[in-house]
Assembly symmetry: C2
Homo-oligomer: 346 residues x 2
């Protein structure tokens, strides 16, 4: 009814008065403390309903309780991978009665540091972090702070903390081995954001796989931005040892390469094979559909959230753990498999 009236929210004291009991009895009732008579509890519940009372979270926190909230800091929520991770985090948190603070660092370590700081002193009970720079000096400080931290996707290199990531190295090998299985020898690796630990691991996985298969000539290309793809591919194709296959080490590089290939009228799967790291739903809609290493983004979110909550509740007393989730290869057409759709029997 009253739209503009200040209409002060009822306090615990109000409820106590209304129910004709002391404030502590109300507090006990709310918190499910054992020593409250059934009869009394009923009266209190009634008063709470009548006054539409809700505990003031700020006051609760002030008395030293948990805030029942966690912070989540990702580089970019609009990135599919992180949005899926965020979704899972949100869900796992909700299931446990936790709220989540979301912040985007834009891959900027100083923004990130400010956000961690903000959250820690807010306070949140714990933080899930995708570090933009695995060796940013500020990480050292926060790793020893009382607030538990779990890193997602990228571990800290400069300090120790719980972390949940994926098998980048073996994932890359999966991709390369598949390409080798197609008979390709000259396989180049294309990556963007090569400063990230995850990408470094994938590149290193690429090298390992090549080496194991006895191939010497690794070729690695770093894409500084979208437009670089075209230039680098042109160069690559003019080279005497023109690669027969491409391993794109992340989402961005996969997409940029596909765009460039298309502009240059080079047919994926036929003129050149391609396997990417990080699978995205719409890869099925591209012609030919894109073969890629699929990361368990959702699990990444839920596993890390559950770990963090365990830390918060003190159920997990051991020192830092590093969890690495397996990845799988989703085989489609860009690698050269399943092509000629429509020409075969079907």
């Amino acid at each position: 009814m009253s739209h503009s009236s200040p209409n002060k929210r009822a306090t615990l004291q109000d409820v106590a008065r209304a129910a004709g009991v002391g404030p502590m009895t109300v507090s006990r009732t709310i918190n499910g403390h054992p020593y409250v008579a059934e009869e009394t509890a009923r009266k209190v519940q009634e008063a709470i309903r009548l006054l539409d009372y809700r505990p003031n979270h700020a006051a609760r926190m002030l008395t030293g309780k948990l805030s029942r909230s966690i912070g989540l800091i990702v580089p970019d929520i609009s990135d599919t991978f992180f949005s899926v991770v965020s979704h899972a985090v949100q869900e796992a948190a909700r299931e446990n009665g936790y709220l989540v603070w979301l912040a985007a660092s834009d891959e900027d370590s100083s923004i990130e540091a400010a956000q961690v700081e903000m959250m820690m002193h807010h306070p949140v009970d714990g933080i899930l972090l995708v570090p933009s720079d695995s060796r940013a000096k500020y990480l050292k400080a926060i790793a020893t702070a009382p607030t538990p931290i779990v890193t997602i996707d990228r571990p800290m290199e400069i300090a120790t903390s719980d972390s949940v990531g994926v098998e980048n190295r073996s994932g890359a090998r999966l991709a390369i081995d598949h390409l080798i299985g197609h008979g390709h020898r000259k396989i180049a690796c294309v990556a963007a954001n090569s400063h990230l630990l995850t990408i470094k691991e994938r590149i290193s996985g690429y090298r390992e796989a090549m080496q194991r298969a006895g191939m010497e000539g690794t070729q690695e290309f770093i894409l500084p931005g979208r437009s670089a793809a075209r230039r680098i591919l042109t160069e690559m194709f003019a080279s005497p040892n023109r690669p027969e296959a491409l391993f794109t080490a992340n989402n961005a590089s996969t997409i940029w390469v596909i765009e460039a290939l298309r502009e240059m009228n080079i047919r994926m799967g036929k003129d050149i094979a391609l396997v990417g790291f990080d699978d995205v739903d719409f890869f099925t809609l591209i012609t030919p559909s894109v073969t890629a290493v699929r990361q368990p983004a959702s699990e990444l979110g839920s596993v890390s959230t559950r770990l963090l909550l365990q830390r918060i509740k003190g159920e997990f007393k051991t020192s830092s753990v590093r969890t690495v989730l397996p990845v799988t290869l989703t085989v489609r057409e860009s690698c050269g498999c399943n092509l000629k759709r429509g020409n075969t029997g079907e």
Copy 2:
């Protein structure tokens, strides 16, 4: 150094003692109150640095200040559209020194209500909401609550609040008119989630455009799920007045239809024209690339956030406003334009 020591956080009182001043002077210094001597301020700043003091947010809120945080509730963060909106919200909030609480309702009105409740009593200063059900009864209650609310994308039908949306109706007309410009007469509309107000508006825009152009036979199909696309398209194509063009009223329907079309070996742009509502980056990568009505997702986020912040600060005293952002048509190939790439001069 000390990893496990409780190491109580320094309080304002501690700082006051260390700096040899009263607590209020410290408070004033922190909050940039005018009447603090430069000399004193320096001493206080020094003490703050020394003790690594950070204001306790909970205590601050308790004294009745703003929490400097807003809540954001979207149906699904992993949906591209909402992830872009969320990104913009996050950014706009950060620019204003606000933090954002993120929650996903999963298009479930009861979860949503619980989350709004949780946020309101947390408390946050304001809420950005994408209502799952525009006429959920709980909206009535929250619309009159003291916490300002701005709805994004979908206005409340059952109560009044600020809202920011896009021009669904005229956007649909844009799409239909373009198809009519191609000479098509039989244009069908395919939609998913048709219970949503936005989708209803788009369908109604479709009808209007058809009517204005003097075409009687509107055909509307509702997709209950991914698999329905195939069935409905088969049916549609067998029908005597088989449509020459398709208007897909949302992202999901666009994608599902494209998938089905592909399975059925029907060529977009040639055998049937298609224009979708809601443009997504990867539409350029599909063959043929998809013509779609582009929604200003990012603006949606930033405009609504700024409006909410104005409400919070009380800078905006008028009654509820409804802001509608324009949409544009991004013409690519699926409508029949620009086809035969590679055959023309280029």
